[in-house]
């Protein structure tokens, strides 16, 4: 891997909108090593020590995160949205799919909540039910992306050589497809429904998680504690899961949060095209498509679903940025370019690694 020319990842930390808490950033790599050593030593003898060591670095992280008010607010908001999604059927005032053609296209705030759509269905209830689709979309696709990308990334980074080259080539190839075009191709093959749309988005995420994990593994692989574990005969899978994966978690969590924002947008886009959620089920994207069909008669129908998409995508993005700023390690990439899923993109200056 290579580094963007002319920018030192630590000194460049000013470059992002939210205030950064910097103090421990520079000293941390060493600290991680020490933590890991005590981790390793403890894992052989006294298990309590393990927890105390991890708690310290976690506490440091939580302290930094708490100082970022906007990110904290986003976390609470995302939590609320997840709750709404879980309890949607009980929260919705009426049946979201119940048609009432006598009362169709009622404008919002005209007596009955947010009005009704062209089939007389209650907009507020549909919005609430659609929260479910969006949250499900975010979790499923990120889950699929993680479960495809993480093992492959660990294998590539840990075993190196031919395995690495092959995996990286395939990942590079996958990264070359424009995200949504790859998604619709997968849907063309598997068929139109929400699950397939989520698989498609998960496939888009996979190479991004893969690269992240591989980079972490490469930087940790040669650490003394990994060598020590290897020398006493710990098996490769155990080293990967016990010693390497925990270190790769923070950047993965950041990436997962930013990916969730993208997943929401992508689900809305695919459902808007009719390639995601199938009628009569409501999604913010499919509601927008229905609103587009009657835009000449009642244009206000498009406002609410759009605002829902914007607000929650924004929350996931702010949350991801806040988490990134709280990690405070060399993983903060400062102003290195990121793609639309927030995955760092490093110019490829022939990686000889």
């Amino acid at each position: 891997m290579s580094v963007t020319p002319d920018d030192d990842p630590i000194s460049s930390s000013v470059g992002v909108g939210t205030p950064r808490v910097d103090a421990s950033g520079a000293t941390n790599p060493a600290a991680t090593g020490a933590d890991a050593w005590s981790n390793f030593a403890a894992s052989r003898t006294e298990p309590e020590a393990v927890t105390s060591a991890t708690v310290t670095s976690r506490q440091r992280f939580i302290r930094r995160f708490k100082r970022q008010r906007l990110a904290m607010a986003s976390l609470i908001f995302v939590g609320l949205v997840v709750l709404i999604a879980i309890f949607a059927p009980w929260l919705a005032p009426t049946d979201p799919n119940k048609q009432d053609l006598m009362n169709s296209l009622k404008p919002p705030f005209g007596g009955k909540g947010l009005g009704t759509d062209q089939l007389g269905r209650d907009v507020a209830s549909r919005l609430i039910m659609a929260t479910r689709v969006s949250v499900q979309a975010a979790f499923e696709s990120v889950g699929i992306g993680l479960s495809l990308g993480v093992p492959a990334g660990m294998a590539a980074g840990y075993f190196g050589g031919r395995t690495d080259r092959l995996i990286m080539r395939v990942s590079d190839a996958l990264l070359s497809f424009p995200p949504l075009i790859l998604a619709i191709a997968v849907i063309a093959v598997l068929g139109r429904n929400l699950t397939n749309a989520m698989i498609a988005i998960g496939i888009i995420f996979a190479p991004r998680f893969l690269r992240l994990v591989r980079a972490e593994v490469l930087s940790i692989r040669e650490e003394t504690y990994v060598e020590a574990a290897r020398s006493i005969g710990t098996s490769s899978p155990k080293i990967l899961v016990r010693h390497i994966l925990p270190n790769a978690m923070p950047p993965l969590i950041v990436q997962a949060s930013l990916s969730a924002g993208f997943a929401l947008l992508a689900e809305a886009g695919l459902s808007f095209l009719g390639l995601g959620v199938q009628p009569p089920r409501a999604s913010w994207g499919s509601m927008l498509a229905e609103a587009a069909a009657v835009i000449n008669r009642e244009w206000t129908l498009m406002i609410a679903p759009g605002l829902c998409i914007i607000v929650i995508t924004l929350a996931f993005n702010i949350l991801g940025d806040g988490l990134r700023d709280s990690i405070g390690r060399e993983t903060r990439r400062g102003d290195a370019p990121t793609d639309e899923m927030g995955a760092p993109v490093v110019p490829r200056v022939d990686d000889e690694s």
């Binding site: 070359s176 424009p178 400062g334 639309e340």
Partner: protein, 314 residues
Amino acid sequence: MVKLVLRRLSGAIPLLFIISIITFSLVLMIPGDPALTIAGDSASEQTLAAIRERLGENDPILTRYFAWIGDVLWLDFGSSLFSETSVTSAIWQRLPVTLSLAVVALVISLLISLPAGLIAGLNSGTIFDRLLTIGASMGVAIPSFWLGLLLSVVFAVNNDWLPAIGYVSIAESPVEWFKHMLLPAFSLGLASSATLTRQLRSSVITTMQQDYIRTARAKGLRGRKVVFKHLLKNASVPAVTSLGLQIPILLSGTVIIEGLFSLNGIGNYAVSAVLLQDLPVVQAVVLLSAVVVVVTNLAVDISYAYLNPKTRLQ
């Protein structure tokens, strides 16, 4: 420099090979029988067999791959499963629409992000910078199709200022072409302009802290000269990467925006092909768009060598 270009080009060939394999294997992933999809459930066994023969399904996979890639290298993507027309000519016909949309969107996003990013970066911390940063975060989160709907409402439904549907060829009437492109291209380009603004802003801030900028200022160089002589080229390295990354995003966006604004482009073609499971069309669009991305990445890579001589040394 020439060596670098050649090395990058040769690196792209195995990548394109794997891309072609992935694209081809879409056919193999189809659950069910493509022949049945085309002919319908009531087709006789002979019809099905004839279709399978035509699709080459009886041949071994490798033979099918090489037959396919052999045609593709001559830009022959076969014919659509349903309309029997040549996929290549259908795409060729629609290319001007998609190209216009993507190019105008890119130009719009540059026109917004270059001044915005530069001004925000040079005045970081001010109210103006804060507002721009908030605006950029919003811009990333706004779905292009929602913006498109909103613009249609304002400019076409409630008022009669701009057309919201259809395409007029630039040869026919440049003014009408531009009018028809404005709304879709702005909807498509706004998210890109937000990303680019953020990127440019942060690279301007980083670059302004470098020693050589301090030196330039210390020796009494005027502000504007520092910006144009020292800052821009150095700050543009990450910005160029970001710009390259906008290409796949814009291509993805055309898929949605073309449908919304009734533009008969490649994206629209792809979506209708997905609805029909018309795989030759889907494969052609997927492969071509990936090739565009690979070529863009090559161009970005090579531009580093120009912008930053350090990367030329190996």
